[in-house]
């Protein structure tokens, strides 16, 4: 079996069932399984006729979220090419920076072709002159043109005879080096993950997946596109740009189409629970009764975010049992754990002192110097998770260490990157770079390993501090980064906080609050609080604040200032 045959099978079995509804500001576009498969065929045919595509060619698709994007992606796959979806630049992005990243991507993936819109082709044109593998930048309208679709022979023969172990797609994880590390996944790996995921979600024919997620990350691509497509499930989608400016559209779509499942990163719980972002009067008529699960995924899961969301939406028939969780990563195709579907999500209050110093997650009842951690659930079918200590040995339950995993659908290696691949495995287990602990089968994720700040031998996890600082009046929520900067004089890292604050906000007051928060949460004093105006902090391609890039920017400025005062 391969992905194309699976789609064909579903399209033949339930031709008229709606596969997807794309919600746009002024219209809704519906497409059935039959029509979707037909368009895939036509587009594949155009691609083949106009441009000789050979097996294994990497094709980079830079399109806004649309049916064209979904269709061209599968069409490339049908020709045995390897598609990968990359974020369309938003207007705030610096074009030179964007081009440099695409150039990186071309270099590491040996990309042969870019499919995009004419307006971006002009900007990217100069990449063709570079000594890389890129042969063509193609306008999407060239291949979706439906002239003579019926004359179109089936591009790879009617049998779609693609071997299951052949690479189907590349996905890139977020982070500053994401574009340099493509995760190649085979047809069989994806089909197996979809099977495990459907099982963990108790997916059935009545489910409706509603999504605003971008398709250039695993959560959108696998969870909210390939999962519905390959299981015959209904998908209702909208673009992230549309949702971020009108968050109510997601809830309206759930209400109208009786949505049952929705994957969300943690920040969106806070975002939608905030009446400043989503005013009460817009919620008239919203009904979340049909929702089985909002699945919190791709960022550390915060109890506070769940509580805020539940508190606001219970009046709209949202049930607490709908607060579900997952730990997922592109390197495992997508989900590694899921929780909350069949049993309540486990939460526990942990003694911070023991966690930070002894790296053990010990339960406590005391509300001081403790924190509630939310489990990410249990491994999905065929995924095995182990926590390892620094020496590579297995850590017992409740000991904090690096999360490692093994599954039949994890990556074989990073695409054309044997160097990075070597460092990412230990005796066949993939080293996730995330830190956490296990209690029986329940996984608790604490932080990214590289984000941990080590002050005087004690581990400090920046995420929680950032969240608390975000709540200070005058600070832009979510526009905070906590870093460790090595201090030569002290011989250890010092904690640096960078926060974007509103014009006219009380700087001294905010600095005092931040200093208090850091000392209360870590027991250490802050080394520096750097307050800036809006839009100072740099983001990764997935829109997360980048610790690495902001650390470099901060150090550069500090260095300059020191030179001036010298």
């Amino acid at each position: 079996m391969n992905i194309l045959l699976k789609i064909k099978e579903i399209a033949e079995k339930q031709p008229d069932k709606l596969f997807a509804t794309m919600i746009e500001p002024n219209q809704e576009i519906h497409i059935s399984y039959k029509d979707f498969f037909h368009k895939v065929r036509v587009t594949g045919c155009c691609l083949q006729q106009k441009h000789a595509i050979t097996k294994g060619d990497v094709i980079i698709i830079i399109l806004k979220p649309s049916l064209d994007l979904l269709i061209s992606f599968i069409a490339c796959m049908s020709l045995s090419a390897i598609p990968t979806i990359i974020a369309f630049p938003n207007e705030k992005m610096d074009m030179d920076f964007y081009k440099a990243k695409i150039n990186d991507l071309l270099k590491f993936t040996k990309g042969r072709m870019i499919i995009t819109y004419p307006e971006l082709s002009a900007d990217l044109g100069s990449l063709l002159d570079l000594p890389v593998y890129l042969k063509k930048i193609m306008d999407i309208s060239e291949i979706t043109d439906p002239s003579d679709p019926e004359d179109c022979p089936d591009p790879t023969g009617p049998s779609y005879n693609i071997p299951p172990e052949q690479i189907a797609l590349l996905q890139h994880s977020s982070g500053t080096t994401g574009y340099q590390k493509g995760v190649a996944l085979s047809h069989q790996a994806i089909l197996k993950q979809i099977q495990s995921l459907s099982h963990a979600l108790d997916l059935d024919q009545d489910d409706v997946i509603v999504s605003w997620l971008p398709l250039y990350h695993d959560m959108g691509l696998i969870g909210c596109f390939l999962l519905p497509l390959l299981t015959g499930t209904r998908l209702v989608m909208m673009s992230p740009f549309y949702w971020v400016n009108n968050p109510v559209v997601l809830l309206q779509a759930i209400t109208r189409y009786r949505g049952t499942l929705c994957f969300l990163p943690n920040f969106s719980y806070n975002f939608m629970a905030n009446p400043e972002k989503l005013p009460d009067d817009l919620l008239k008529g919203i009904d979340l009764e049909s929702m089985r699960a909002f699945i919190n995924c791709s960022e550390p899961i915060k109890k506070k975010s769940h509580e805020k969301f539940y508190k606001r939406f219970k009046a709209y028939h949202f049930k607490r049992s709908g607060l579900c969780v997952s730990y997922a990563l592109a390197e495992n195709t997508f989900a590694a754990t899921i929780g909350g579907i069949r049993e309540k999500v486990r939460e526990e209050r942990i003694d911070l002192g023991k966690l930070l110093v002894k790296r053990k997650a010990r339960l406590t009842k005391s509300r001081t110097n403790s924190k509630v951690f939310v489990s990410s659930g249990k491994p999905v079918q065929d995924t095995h998770i182990r926590i390892i200590r620094k020496d590579g040995r297995n850590a017992p339950d409740r000991d904090v260490g690096e999360i490692t995993l093994k599954s039949p659908y994890m990556l074989d290696g990073y695409y054309h990157r044997p160097d990075v691949t070597r460092k990412s495995f230990l005796h066949g287990w993939y080293l996730t770079g995330d830190v956490g602990y296990k209690v029986k089968d329940h996984l608790f994720v604490i932080a990214r390993k590289k984000d941990i700040i080590i002050v005087g031998g004690k581990n400090i996890y920046p995420e929680d501090i950032e969240l608390t600082i975000s709540e200070i009046k005058g600070v832009y929520p979510g526009r905070v980064v906590v870093l460790g900067v090595f201090d030569d004089e002290e011989g250890t890292e010092k904690i640096v906080v960078i926060a974007e604050i509103k014009d006219g906000a009380d700087k001294g007051g905010i600095k005092k609050r931040i200093r208090r928060i850091v000392v209360q949460e870590t027991g250490y004093n802050v080394g520096d609080v750097y307050l800036t105006g809006k839009k100072w902090l740099l983001k990764t391609s997935s829109g997360k604040i980048s610790r690495e890039a902001n650390k470099r920017k901060y150090l550069k400025i500090l260095h300059k200032e020191n030179l001036i005062t010298e």
Binding site: G508, K511, K512, R515, V518, V519, Y524, N525, V526, V529
Partner: protein, 80 residues
């Protein structure tokens, strides 16, 4: 300059080193993260030199130095 002002100026200039931050005489300094307890020894040396007193080691602690008022009081008591 009054004693409390001298202490305040020193703390702001030499320890907190942040022009945006102003401190009040009754404001907690250590438990609020404004100054690190590692700095208490440095502060005690300054107090001894400036006010010509001998501060007992037991006084170089959070409970006797958490506010400017506390510090001034500790200096007063050290004179006796």
């Amino acid at each position: 300059m009054e004693k409390k002002d001298i202490i305040k100026t020193y703390l702001k200039k030499e320890i907190i080193k942040d022009k945006d931050i102003d401190i009040k005489n009754d404001e907690p300094l250590i438990t609020s993260g404004l100054i690190d307890s590692f700095n208490l020894v440095k502060l005690a040396v300054f107090l001894e030199k400036t006010f010509k007193v001998k501060i007992n080691n037991s006084k170089v602690a959070v409970k006797s130095m958490n506010t400017i008022n506390d510090i001034a009081k500790t200096v007063e008591e050290s004179k006796k």
